[in-house]
Structures are given as structure tokens and as C-alpha cells.
């Protein structure tokens, strides 16, 4: 026999582990030599399909039979608007093209590998809790420049460019250092939501000033209802949004601009401290500690059951809760209240933006197809169809005409109108995902009483400074 065991099983686990550890130690320095080139995989260019002939019907020059893959975030708006409205529109325009549809809740988890491998889908709805970092995508040249789309003639009126069919601010919202990369499609208004029915039954009225607001919260609490709440487990950004909106009202819109531009000490501005102090008090006195462990659907369900009175969110809320909303609930929006009479912005001011981001992958097989898909989305028919399915207004001006919105969206549209010019937005969360994460964490710490406003601004500022110094992060300005 070639090898008879001299000492059967003499090699016990201890010996083996020790030797294995030794091998590990020895192997480490030499390991760099071994490495093949995994990292080169990302460079591999995808074979892109040739363009088709440009025509009046096909101004972008899409290849007629080239397939297009559409990935939709299956969240508040669902996926039906894509399968029932936009994808059929594309198919109608290009009957020979195959439209591959896919929906997911965890965009980054499932798409990141596709991007890393140089095989991204053409069209992506990048949204939700696990959205991909827009800033990183832009920095890596993964996103198709949308200038061509905005300058193309619109579907409905060839004399009109696409850029002239959308509400002002739409293109800017999706621009990075002045270049448009993202289509924010849904007109979104942020505020604090309540049940019109609950308020009417109890004789409560939405608050405009901070004193009114505290009085309102107190009387709600007296009724045995949790006055205010957000979901700490996955939706803390709903609350930092409230704090920052409040800060912008106190100190003017430059407060937010400084944050977005990573200005030194931006988070330590007095307006932010004031707002954080005020909301920490709300968290301590008028909320429920258990909400920190709940997901947004849980807290939203509680509001539908009249257990929570006020809930901060965007106006997708009403559509998202459709199944659980009892009849007569009557969603209503109130803007974040004013702090005092010395506020820079009036009580009606609010944060509104084009929301729900869509992009075309520059390195996909058929980027022109992706652009054309967007052009179809931005047609009157596409926008109207979207609004009918999800009950939310789009950025397409003609899309909402003559549509009667459900009460919640109607109230947010009215609030938007009332705000007039005093509408603002913020961008840092899309530009610097890490800063968003830190703001969420700090917000939970603040609202559930573990740190005060000073510590709150201190720690986010620290993160902002670190990002500013980090050379691997691409910076953006507005």
C-alpha cells in the first residue's frame, strides 16, 4: 500500500487547525501575486446595439427590434403602471421590440451585480429603501445623459420639446453638477398627514404655528391616541425630512443648500438646531417608543386604525395605504408648522419635488430604447395612465388635467398651490447615501430620546466632513 496510516487519527483537530492557521499566515503576503484580475470585469463594455434610422416617429433613432429590459421598484406605486401603461405604449411604438419586465423591492441588492458585470438593464426605477446610490452611478458613468431626451420633440406635439411639457424644476431635480441624468417623474409633496374624519369628529384643526401644533398634540394625547409617529426601523428619513423642512422655514432655503453643498458647519446652522430641539420634544412627549422597531407599513396601518393621529410622509401615502384605509378616512395634508413670526418662509411653504427616480443605463445594450421609453412615459397618454393607476400626479403638465384626485392628493395639490413660490427641495440623500444613513440613525437617536439637538447636529456634521474629505466620493453642487 502506498500510504499506510502510521498513527491513525493522530492528526487531531488541534494540530490541523494550528497548521491551517500557519498556512493562512504564510499565504497572505504571497497572495497578491496569485490574484487574477477580478476588477477588470467591470470595464468590459457591453456590446451595444446599433442605432435605427431617425424619423418623425422615432426622433431618437431607436433600433426597432432591439429588446429593452425594464426594472420597476415594486413599492408604493406598485408595478401595474409599467405593465399596463408604459410598456404597452413602447410596444405600440415598436411592435418588433421585446419588453422584458421585472419588479423588485430591493433595487440595489438585485441590480448591483448587474452593473458591476457590465450588463445592466436599460431602464431602471431606482427607488425605495434599498435604492442604488445615484451619486456613485453618475460618478462611474453608468447613467445615460438625458439631454438628448429633453431636447427631443414630444410624442404629442412634434413642435414642442419634451423639456417644455414638464413642470419647472423637473430637469434640475435630476441633474448632477448641471447635467441631467435622472428623470424624477412623480410630482411629490411632503407634509404631515392626518385623517379628515378623525379631526372632524374631534373638532381638531390642522396647526399653522408651533404653539397651535403643541396644543393640538396635547389634545390628541388626552383622547388616548398617539399624537405623532414615524417608523424608526426603516423610514427614519421621513422624520429627518420634517426636521429639515422645519429648519428651512425658520432659516430660509439656503439652510438646505448649504447642507447639499457640504459647506463647513452646514448642519450646525442655528435653524437646524432649533428645529431639532423642537422635534425632539415631540418625540419625547407625543410619540410611542415602540415605533422605533416598526416598519413604515406598521405605523401607517395604525394611523388607518385611528391609533396614530399625525404621520409624516410624501403624497404617495394615500395610494400605498389604499387596501387598509377604512372608508371615510379622508387623508389630508398639513404643511410642517411655522416656528415663530420671525421665520424666513411663510407657514404655507413646503417641500415639493419631482420624486421617484428613473434612469437609463449608459452601458446597457440598448440605451436609446431606454430614452425612448422615457419619452413615452412623458407623453400625455403615459402620464394620464400613470395617474389613473396610482392616483398620483406626474411632472407632465398635461397629464393631470381634468383628473379628479382622491382626497389626499387633492389636498396636497391644493397645498402646493397655496405655497406658490415658497417651494423648496433638498438633494443630499441622493448624492451621498452615507450621509442619508447617518441622518436616519441620528434622527432615531434624537427622536427616541438618546441624544439632544446639539449631539444630533454634531454627529451628522462629522459624517458630512468625512464625506467631504473622502476622495473616492464624487461631490455635487447646486
Amino acid at each position: 500500500m502506498s500510504n499506510t496510516p502510521e498513527h491513525p487519527a493522530a492528526l487531531d483537530r488541534r494540530t490541523v487547525l494550528r497548521r491551517a492557521a500557519a498556512v493562512g499566515m504564510l499565504a497572505t503576503p504571497a497572495i497578491g501575486l496569485l490574484s487574477a484580475c477580478a476588477t477588470s470585469g467591470g470595464d468590459k463594455e457591453n456590446e451595444q446595439v446599433a442605432g435605427g434610422t431617425k424619423s418623425e416617429k422615432n426622433p431618437l433613432g431607436v433600433k426597432e427590434d432591439a429588446a429593452i429590459e425594464v426594472v420597476i421598484f415594486n413599492g408604493g406605486y406598485g408595478e401595474k403602471y409599467a405593465t399596463d401603461v408604459h410598456e404597452p405604449l413602447y410596444k405600440k411604438a415598436f411592435p418588433k421590440a421585446e419588453v422584458k419586465h421585472q419588479a423588485t423591492q430591493a433595487v440595489s441588492t438585485v441590480l448591483q451585480p448587474r452593473f458591476a458585470s457590465g450588463n445592466p438593464p436599460e431602464f431602471v426605477n431606482n427607488s425605495g429603501e434599498k435604492l442604488m446610490d445615484f451619486g456613485a452611478l453618475v460618478a462611474d458613468g453608468q447613467l445615460q445623459d438625458l439631454t438628448e431626451l429633453w431636447d427631443a420633440p414630444s410624442v404629442d406635439d412634434p413642435a414642442k420639446k419634451v423639456r417644455d411639457t414638464v413642470v419647472p424644476g423637473t430637469i434640475e431635480a435630476g441633474s448632477f453638477n448641471g447635467k441631467p441624468f435622472v428623470l424624477y417623474y412623480v410630482s411629490t409633496v411632503f407634509g404631515i398627514w392626518y385623517s379628515g374624519k378623525l379631526f372632524k369628529d374631534n373638532g381638531w384643526a390642522p396647526a399653522k404655528t408651533w404653539d397651535d401644533f403643541i396644543a393640538l398634540l396635547t389634545s390628541i394625547k388626552a383622547k388616548g391616541i398617539t399624537p405623532y409617529g414615524y417608523a424608526g426601523a426603516n423610514a427614519a428619513y421621513y422624520q429627518w425630512n420634517v426636521i429639515l423642512t422645519h429648519a428651512a422655514k425658520i432659516g430660509g432655503t439656503d439652510v438646505l443648500k448649504n447642507i447639499d453643498n457640504l459647506e463647513d458647519g452646514a448642519w450646525k446652522q442655528d435653524a437646524i438646531k432649533q428645529a431639532a430641539t423642537a422635534w425632539a420634544e415631540v418625540g419625547a412627549k407625543f410619540s410611542d417608543k415602540s415605533f422605533e422597531g416598526l416598519k413604515h407599513t406598521d405605523v401607517q396601518l395604525r394611523q388607518n386604525q385611528y391609533k396614530v393621529a399625525l404621520y409624516p410622509s410624501g403624497d404617495w401615502l394615500e395610494g400605498e395605504q389604499k387596501q387598509d384605509t377604512p372608508p371615510g378616512f379622508d387623508y389630508q395634508l398639513m404643511p410642517v408648522p411655522s416656528m415663530s413670526s420671525s421665520d424666513k418662509l411663510p407657514a404655507t411653504a413646503l417641500r415639493a419635488t419631482a420624486g421617484e427616480g428613473y434612469f437609463v443605463s449608459a452601458k446597457s445594450k440598448n440605451p436609446k430604447g431606454g430614452l425612448e421609453y422615457m419619452r413615452q412615459m412623458l407623453s400625455k397618454e403615459g402620464a394620464k395612465g400613470f395617474t389613473e393607476v396610482v392616483k398620483a400626479p406626474t411632472v407632465v403638465t398635461a397629464g393631470s388635467e381634468g383628473f379628479s384626485f382622491p382626497p389626499g392628493v387633492a389636498s396636497s395639490q391644493a397645498a402646493l398651490k397655496a405655497a406658490g413660490q415658497d417651494v423648496f427641495n433638498l438633494y443630499f440623500d441622493g448624492w451621498y447615501k452615507e450621509l442619508d444613513t447617518e441622518a436616519r440613525t441620528a434622527t432615531n437617536e434624537l427622536m427616541f430620546g438618546r441624544i439632544n439637538a446639539d449631539a444630533f447636529v454634531e454627529r451628522i456634521q462629522k459624517k458630512a466632513d468625512a464625506i467631504k474629505k473622502d476622495s473616492s466620493v464624487t461631490k455635487f453642487k447646486r
Binding site: M1, S2, R13, R14, L17, R18, A20, A21, G24, M25, T28, I31, G32, L34, S35, A36, A38, T39, S40, G42, D43, S108, T109, Q112, F115, A116, K130, M132, D133, A136, L137, A139, D140, G141, Q142, G232, A233, N234, A236, K289, S290, F291, E292, G293, L294, K433, E434, T437, R440, T441, A442, N444, E445, F448, R450, D470, S471, S472
Partner: protein
């Protein structure tokens, strides 16, 4: 007889070695390389030397994660082994000795089967299960009871000092059965004469346990410690699925695997994530080396 040995040896080794080198060794090697770059997964990586490692030193979350591994490394083996030893002792020698057979307590077979069961479930599934067990309101399994009898709910995953222990609880829940069976095997091999002799001297159950069972099980305990130590360095699935905000609140439950995942797949900082991976690798190695050294103690021969 030696004729044709080498073709045979090569023929038998070629497929397994090729598979292993391609899918295991090569990726590990590349991870070291990537950790020296600022690669974000999309365009070509740029060599940055030890920048990522320097940044690690200043990263509070990283150190929090390392600290949690320290806690896990102590608590998980200690708690699990203590409970499992206790149960194994009960199941094997806890009952009365009759007819020459030392017996476990009544129903010991049933208990062994039940205790072991969580071991066959996937951790990801167990984590989903415990999400509902720990829920902070009346819909949670535990808090539902507490609130029904008029107590305040326990905020298992929310209170920063409790969250990590809630996670450890799940890990212990799954692990105990395995070690009960493992220790039972060890105990069953301890000759009955030894117990008998000890009992003749009037030793109580407790004395039996500490003077007889424990020393004779030393080898098995060592193995258990190593296994649980390795488990303490992972804990990804349970933290990622169970904790609020993946490792929260405010990093109170985070572990290196979760931070690696977050940096790689949320921030797309592959270089930085790989540096964390390398750090984790050296921590594991250090643990292995330390354990081997510390437990170097003569086992009792019998």
C-alpha cells in the same frame, strides 16, 4: 504496485483542486488586492495603498462591530455551553441509576429531539421568525403576552443595551440543541464505574458534575468553544434580517459582515469593504491562534 500511481493521483485530484482554486482560493486572493484600491465596482479601480486601512482606524462603526464580536465571542460560547452542559447532564446522568444503567431524566429522548430541531432550520428563516417574536407591540409573541397581563412591552431590538442580547438570544436558541447532543455523546462515553466510585464516596449530583463530568469532557468543550467562536464571527443573516436598520439602533448590533455588506452593496465601496473583509480574516485567525494556545491543557485520560 506503484505502477500507475501518479496518473491515478492526478486524475483524482484535478477536478477538486481546480474547483477549489477557482472558486475559493482565487477570490480570496483577489479580495486582498481589491482592498488596496478605491474600486466602486463599475469603472477601473485605482491603487490607493493602505488608505482604506487607515480609514478603518478612524471608523467608529468598524470599531463598534469589532467590539460586538468581542462580546459575542465571550457571551455566545459561555451561555450556550453552560445551558447545553446543564441539559446534557440532566439528560444523561440526571436521573436515578437503576439496574446498572445510569439514566437521564424521564423523556430525555423527546427533549433531545426537540432541542436539536432549530439546528436544521436556515438562519435566515429563523431570523424572519424572530422578527415576529420580538415585535415591540401587542402583535409580538412575547409582548403580546406582557401587554395582555398589563405590563409594559419590552423593546427587545430597540433599546441599544438590549438589542445585541436579543440577537445573542436567537443564536443561543438555535445552538443549544446541537451542543446538548454533542455533550451527550461525550458524557455517554464516560465509563459508569467512574460515577459509581464517586457516588460510593458520597458525591452529590453537583459534585459529580464538577469533579467527574466536566474534566472528562474537556476536549469536547474545546471543540464547542472553537465552533461557537467561528459562529461569533459571522452572525450576518441574523443581524441583517432581524435588527432594525441592519445593525441598529445606531450600530448597537452591527457586526463586521453587515458592515462589509453595507459598504459593498449599499455604498458600492468595494475597496473599503474588502479592507474590512481582510480585517475580519485576521481577527478570525487571531482567535484561532489564541484558542489553540489557551486551551493547551492536558486532557484527562481514562
Amino acid at each position: 504496485m506503484r505502477h500507475g500511481k501518479y496518473p491515478f493521483v492526478i486524475g483524482f485530484l484535478i477536478v477538486p483542486v481546480a474547483l477549489y482554486v477557482t472558486f475559493v482560493i482565487a477570490p480570496y486572493a483577489q479580495a486582498f488586492q481589491i482592498s488596496m484600491t478605491n474600486w466602486r465596482g463599475l469603472s477601473a479601480p485605482r491603487w490607493v495603498g493602505f488608505d482604506n486601512y487607515r480609514r478603518l482606524l478612524d471608523d467608529g462603526t468598524f470599531w463598534k462591530a469589532v467590539q460586538h464580536h468581542g462580546v459575542l465571542l465571550l457571551a455566545l460560547p459561555l451561555i450556550t455551553i453552560a445551558i447545553a452542559l446543564f441539559f446534557a447532564f440532566l439528560l444523561n446522568v440526571g436521573g436515578k441509576a437503576s439496574g446498572g444503567q445510569r439514566q437521564g431524566v424521564w423523556g430525555s429522548r423527546f427533549y433531545r429531539v426537540v432541542f436539536f430541531f432549530p439546528q436544521v432550520l436556515a438562519v435566515a428563516i429563523i431570523a424572519v421568525l424572530f422578527q415576529t417574536v420580538y415585535r415591540p407591540d401587542e402583535s409580538g409573541l412575547i409582548n403580546g403576552v406582557l401587554m395582555k397581563i398589563g405590563l409594559d412591552p419590552v423593546l427587545f431590538l430597540i433599546r441599544p443595551n438590549l438589542a445585541l442580547w436579543s440577537i445573542i438570544g436567537v443564536l443561543v436558541w438555535q445552538a443549544v440543541g446541537f451542543y446538548v447532543v454533542l455533550f451527550s455523546a461525550g458524557m455517554a462515553s464516560i465509563p459508569g464505574e467512574i460515577y459509581e466510585a464517586a457516588e460510593m464516596d458520597g458525591a452529590s449530583r453537583v459534585t459529580l458534575f464538577f469533579r467527574v463530568t466536566l474534566p472528562l469532557l474537556w476536549d469536547t468543550l474545546q471543540v464547542a468553544w472553537v465552533y461557537l467562536g467561528i459562529a461569533a464571527f459571522d452572525a450576518f443573516a441574523v443581524v441583517a434580517v432581524l435588527s432594525i436598520d441592519q445593525g441598529g439602533p445606531d450600530g448597537a448590533t452591527t457586526v463586521l459582515a453587515v458592515e462589509i455588506y453595507r459598504n459593498a452593496f449599499t455604498y458600492q465601496k468595494y475597496g473599503y469593504a474588502s479592507a474590512m473583509g481582510v480585517a475580519l480574516f485576521f481577527l478570525t485567525l487571531t482567535f484561532a491562534a489564541l484558542t489553540l494556545r489557551l486551551t493547551k491543557r492536558e486532557s484527562v485520560e481514562y
